[in-house]
């Protein structure tokens, strides 16, 4: 039995619901030595900014129980090199390319999207509004509903391609932020970005990250991601992409049942470059084993007490 794995996110049709998360899969071809990225539903590329960024001082990563911290600092080649050097490598791949962008101002987001929207190889945008250290007040755009609205408006006016807004979990009321994004024109939401975290080296009494705090990812945050997805799902009716600690097909199913239309695999790529395709084949086996012919029929089928 052939399972129809395709899902729809805005106007974007993905051939299957397994994507790789921004910042954990480079610019899309770094892991080609291990498997053909065309197997995936899509690739979300590393966050791109207008100018190249060298990133934060080291150490940039640390391990925590069932998780890792990073403060990479949006190290990236900048939008021009992205266009001239990175996107061409993705030509010919049979997978969706989702460009993830971040700006220092709402207008910068607009400029980035304008620059990229005409390119054939960019299928959709993921708007990273979760990165602190960028705005002057130290808050991320995504921690404020008005700032979120501004960013999404600027982006929406520049493209007809699918716009996915990526939410941070580090907020009191994620539904308010999600609603602002949707009202301003987001086609879909992805969640979650990393959780604010920190660790200390007890030998040296120094923080394990040079920048002291960073973003927590990995299995430790899976329950947080699911709860945030659930909150947004209960209140809004847009496609959601689940992210956070997805390591197995079973983990992915938790997100699909809770209402995700697709998932992004992040930290797992570092531990097992083949992890995303293993999850995909696990999902296929799940469907085949249960006679499910259309994958999308399982989305949002969480059983709640009446």
């Amino acid at each position: 039995m052939a399972v129809d794995l395709s899902v729809r996110i805005g106007s974007l049709v993905l051939k299957n619901p397994v994507l790789t998360a921004s910042g954990t899969f480079g610019y899309g071809t770094e892991y080609s030595e291990y498997f053909d990225p065309s197997l995936l539903g899509g690739i979300v590329t590393k966050t791109i900014t207008l100018e190249p960024r060298a990133g934060n001082p080291m150490p940039r990563i640390a391990e925590t129980p069932a998780g890792m911290l990073n403060s990479i600092g949006l190290a990236n080649v900048g939008v021009e090199k992205y266009i001239t050097e990175k996107l061409p490598l993705l030509e010919g791949l049979d997978t969706a390319v989702i460009a993830n962008v971040a700006g220092n101002t709402a207008e910068e987001y607009g400029v980035l999207v304008r620059r990229l929207s005409g390119l054939r190889r960019v299928d959709a945008f993921e708007i990273n509004i979760s990165c602190p250290n960028v705005r002057k007040d130290g808050l991320a755009f995504g921690m404020d509903a008005e700032a979120t609205r501004d960013v999404v408006r600027c982006v929406r006016s520049e493209t007809d391609k699918t716009v996915i807004v990526k939410l941070t979990p580090n907020v009191t009321d994620i539904v308010a932020i999600a609603r602002a994004a949707v009202e301003a024109g987001a086609d879909a939401l992805s969640l979650i970005n990393t959780v604010l975290g920190m660790a200390v080296d007890i030998e040296t009494r120094r923080p394990l990250l040079a920048r002291v705090t960073g973003g927590l990812s990995g299995p430790a945050i899976k329950p947080i991601a699911l709860a945030r997805l659930y909150q947004v799902r209960q209140s809004l009716d847009v496609p959601l992409i689940g992210i956070g600690g997805i390591m197995t097909a079973g983990d992915a199913l938790e997100f699909f049942f809770t209402g995700a239309t697709a998932v992004e695999v992040g930290t797992l790529n570092f531990i097992d470059p083949l992890g995303s395709v293993s999850i995909l084949s696990g999902l296929v086996r799940y469907c085949e084993g249960r006679g499910i012919s259309s994958f999308s029929s399982i989305i949002g089928t969480l059983v709640l007490e009446s």
């Binding site: 080291m58 069932a66 990073n70 990479i72």
Partner: protein, 264 residues
């Protein structure tokens, strides 16, 4: 050359000291492909705690038997778990990763310097240098005599060996940089000499300072905390004198020592 991800059976595991282990694994493809200075990325445990792979230098590669050896110090929970594994157990390896030492067929003498567990890559390096027929000087510093081992085959092969221990229990009292200092003082010419150094960062910084301005090219093998091990996560950045960051895992772990900025 393709990197492998494979579950590799443990052939043997022995204790060198109460904290240092030698682990031999069956993985013919990695054994065949590995070059000195390269590393393997080891999943020590199937659960999510510890989560990340652990990087270890290739300590020996036996192409005939299809085995590689790792030499590791038990530091935290990952290495503690690794030590608990017996023969028959398997660990998942990715490798070989990184760029090894650049080795040419020149006839120049190789000055190999290792601090502590820097011997892990250094031994493999010396093995290959000897295969190339190059004369080798080996300087090795450890905490004490009990951490010095495995030198017989190098002695037989004519390697010139200089030892130092922090507690003076064997060789010169002090560090391997003390040995280098004396060597540089006593050497009439550094021509036809090429340096290789593996060890903790303070030692690398000291070596960098000692050879600065001297006509001695030194390649240094660096360590940094790693997630992906393949250049993707940008986590293992090290700062260069140029002000740019390079990745230890994919741009290194071996760098020309003069290019690295140990200051920050």
């Amino acid at each position: 050359m393709k990197t492998r991800i494979a579950s590799c059976p443990i052939i043997s595991q022995e204790s060198i000291t109460d904290r240092i282990q030698r682990l031999v694994l069956h993985c013919p493809e990695i054994a065949g492909a590995a070059k000195p200075g390269q590393f393997v990325h080891v999943r020590v445990h199937p659960s999510w705690d510890p989560l990340l792979r652990r990087p270890f230098s290739v300590h020996a590669a036996d192409r005939k038997n299809g085995s590689i050896a790792l030499l590791y110090r038990v530091i935290g929970k990952g290495t503690a778990f690794l030590r608990s594994l017996g023969n028959g157990a398997s660990v998942n390896l990715m490798g070989p990763l990184g760029n090894g030492f650049r080795l040419d067929q020149s006839r120049s003498r190789a000055l190999v310097m290792a601090g502590g567990l820097g011997s892990a890559p250094a031994f493999f390096l010396i093995d290959r240098l000897l295969e190339y027929g190059r004369p080798v000087i080996f300087m090795w510093g450890t905490r004490s005599a009990e951490e010095i081992f495995g030198l017989d085959r190098f002695r037989v092969a004519g390697v010139e060996i200089h030892l130092a221990t922090d507690d003076g229990s064997l060789g010169r009292a002090g560090t391997v940089t003390g040995l280098l200092e004396a060597f540089l003082r006593e050497s009439k010419s550094l021509k036809n000499l090429e340096g290789f150094v593996c060890g903790p960062e303070p030692m690398l910084a000291a070596v960098q300072a000692l050879v600065a301005g001297k006509p001695l090219r030194v390649q240094a093998c660096l360590e940094e905390r790693m997630a992906c091990g393949t250049g993707v996560c940008q986590g293992c950045a090290v700062r260069m004198q140029s002000g740019l960051y390079r990745m230890v895992c994919s741009d290194g772990p071996v760098f020309p020592i003069e290019e690295v900025d140990f200051g920050g």
